[in-house]
């Protein structure tokens, strides 16, 4: 038996595997296939202040080992989320990482403030701040490309939440220097980082000779982007090891389809794993990845999951 438990900040989870935001809705749909409380945490779809219709269709395009999506943050709004979705997740015993979004830093803070008032707050094991959404005040460019805008959002959200609810900033790989953004978020009070969000991409419908997605561009996800996630996690974990900023847990996400994929992100420095697009292929993917990861660790002779977090960094030092 491998000890799969992991501590993220002050929160202890029985295992390190989670759903990924926007790839699991808010739990009821996947609960038909497996018990969502068996995951380390359930990560909800990013919720904003008000209900949102999202974009028109087509909203997706299949790519080689992945997909593009352009949903447009469809959601019920934080009030309905806190009263319905979160209460349901609590009722089935899920540990919940709530993903929040906003079009302005003030909206992020407002969403966090409403969440704090939810009667189901005690099932919340953390808040993930989706800074990869358009900043209305900056020509719709995403917060995540700008260290100052990212830091401001993180600081405002941190202020709104009880100290024992860790705040994770979800970073975009579409930046020149992901370490600079990671540093800004941690210095602004982030208790952890989620890496990575989707990459911006685009597909053309060659029959109609127009962009395939209704929203023109979309987020690229799936196994095809896994090396980008491994790279980003590696760079940020290295920067932490060099003391450039405080060492905080990294939630690894990006193209994980199997336990083997998960271990790659963990060895690069992730303390937990989110399974996203693979869930579209296999609705039981999150629990399957957990099982495969546990089996793989046992096979490799490890007693505890935490032994392999960042293991590739330690091994690399031998060759320096």
């Amino acid at each position: 038996m491998v000890d799969m438990s992991v501590t993220l900040g002050e929160v202890e989870l029985p295992n390190p595997v989670m759903t990924a935001s926007g790839c699991a809705a808010n739990g009821k749909e996947l609960h038909r296939f497996f018990d969502v409380s068996s995951l380390g945490a359930f990560v909800t779809k990013s919720v904003m202040a008000a209900p949102r219709s999202g974009r028109g269709t087509p909203r997706m395009a299949e790519t080689a080992s992945g997909m593009l999506n352009s949903i447009g943050l469809q959601g019920p709004g934080i009030h309905a989320f806190a009263e319905n979705d979160l209460v349901w997740l609590k009722s089935v015993g899920a540990r919940v990482l709530v993903s929040i979004a906003g079009g302005s830093s003030a909206e992020f803070a407002d969403v966090a403030a409403v969440l704090r008032q939810s009667p189901a707050l005690d099932c919340v094991v953390g808040v993930e701040v989706n800074i990869s959404c358009p900043n209305v005040a900056n020509r719709g460019l995403v917060f995540a490309i700008d260290p100052l805008a990212s830091a401001k959002v993180v600081a405002l959200v941190r202020e709104q939440l009880p100290r024992d609810v860790p705040v994770f900033a979800k970073l975009s790989p579409d930046v020149t220097d992901v370490v600079a953004i990671a540093s800004a978020c941690v210095k602004a009070g982030a208790d952890g980082l989620t890496m990575i969000n989707t990459l911006l991409g685009m597909a053309i419908d060659i029959d109609r000779m127009r962009p395939q997605l209704g929203g023109v561009t979309g987020g690229l996800s799936g196994p095809g982007i896994r090396p980008v996630a491994v790279r980003a996690i590696w760079q940020v974990r290295s920067a932490m090891a060099e003391g450039r900023f405080r060492t905080v847990p990294i939630l690894g996400v990006g193209g994980v389809r199997t336990g083997r994929d998960a271990l790659e992100l963990v060895a690069a420095g992730a303390s937990a794993i989110q399974v996203g697009t693979a869930t579209f292929h296999d609705p039981t993917a999150p629990v399957r990845v957990l099982r495969e990861l546990e089996d793989l660790l046992a096979e490799k002779g490890f007693d505890a999951f935490t032994q392999v977090v960042g293991a590739a960094h330690r091994r690399q030092e031998v060759y320096r």
Partner: protein, 303 residues
């Protein structure tokens, strides 16, 4: 094996749906289509007409991750092959071509049944079942259930050409009346199903029209049915990534019983909707736009 489903037998149905490793037990050409039968334990017992299944394609190491969803043509809970599910595939893309090319005994991961079934009338009424191309696939099974409930069942099958019709022989055998249309006149009446539908509704005194096929056809079917005082129940086609309600890609604008329009998921709230609830005015050129009066629609300030 990395991408296999949870188990080869029927999973415990937690929510009326199972994920199974299905075995192909029959495959045959049907005009332009491929009619495929899978031994898929557990699905037949749960399924009702109008529901669909999601197939993983390309095998365990496939680079095509998205599920391909197909309306269930028919099911047999206890046939010679055990519990089977039939689908009809039009091979055109990577996934459908792969499914159409499968050989006997090959295995496919299937999730189902998914979505909402066609609602059945509580009393015997006259019904017209309209299928466009292989969209007719679920209608024969539906027709049998309607007939068993004492309903008079007429069918209207239409397609671009004769080879793109599906199930004409079966319809002739099982329905109380059949009308065929083709765009090119290669079979039946030259024209569209909507050209003949009003007459069929009037002749049979139909109170309900069931439709399955391309969106443009479903819109016409709804318009004709409404004009003739019949209720249209349509199974819509939207491209899906997951089929199980988590990806949010298969949405379309539908007005609820409360009069409010929302972008709803075809895979869980549908695929069957009352035709007059679908906001057909929002569809143009293979796109569905968000109606300005939909809940949470984008404002001028941006979305």
């Amino acid at each position: 094996m990395p991408f296999a489903s949870n188990g080869s037998g029927p999973a415990v149905p937690r929510g009326g749906v199972v994920q199974v490793t299905a075995e192909l037990v029959a495959t045959r050409r049907a005009g332009a289509y491929q009619h495929v039968t899978f031994a898929a334990p557990g699905i037949a017992e749960l399924a009702r007409p109008g529901q669909f299944v999601g197939l993983a394609v390309g095998g365990p190491t496939s680079a095509n991750l998205l599920r391909r969803c197909f309306s269930i043509h028919r099911v047999s809970p206890s046939g010679v092959q055990g519990s089977t599910v039939d689908i009809v595939v039009a091979p055109h893309g990577t996934g459908t071509t792969w499914i159409a090319g499968l050989s006997l005994h090959e295995e496919v991961d299937i999730v189902g049944p998914l979505g909402t079934p066609f609602p059945l009338p509580t009393e015997p009424v006259s019904c017209v079942l309209v299928g466009g191309g292989y969209g007719s696939a679920p209608l024969f099974w539906l027709g049998e259930q309607l007939a068993a409930g004492g309903c008079h069942v007429e069918m209207v099958l239409g397609a671009a050409s004769e080879d793109r019709l599906f199930g004409v022989v079966e319809a002739r055998r099982t329905a109380d009346g059949l009308t065929v249309t083709t765009d090119d006149g290669s079979a039946g009446t030259r024209g569209w199903v909507s050209d003949v539908l009003a007459q069929v509704i009037r002749r049979s005194g139909a109170g309900v029209v069931y439709g399955c096929g391309p969106m443009g056809m479903l819109r016409s079917v709804t318009e004709v049915a409404s004009a003739e005082g019949a209720v249209a129940q349509v199974a819509v086609e939207e491209s899906m990534a997951c089929g199980v309600g988590v990806c949010m890609t298969c949405v379309l604008p539908v007005t609820g019983a409360d009069g409010t329009t929302r972008m709803v998921r075809t895979c869980v709230e549908g695929p069957v909707f009352r035709g007059d609830r679908v906001r057909w005015d929002s569809f143009e050129d293979a796109r569905a736009l968000v109606p300005a009066d939909a809940v949470g629609a984008p404002t001028e300030a941006g979305h």
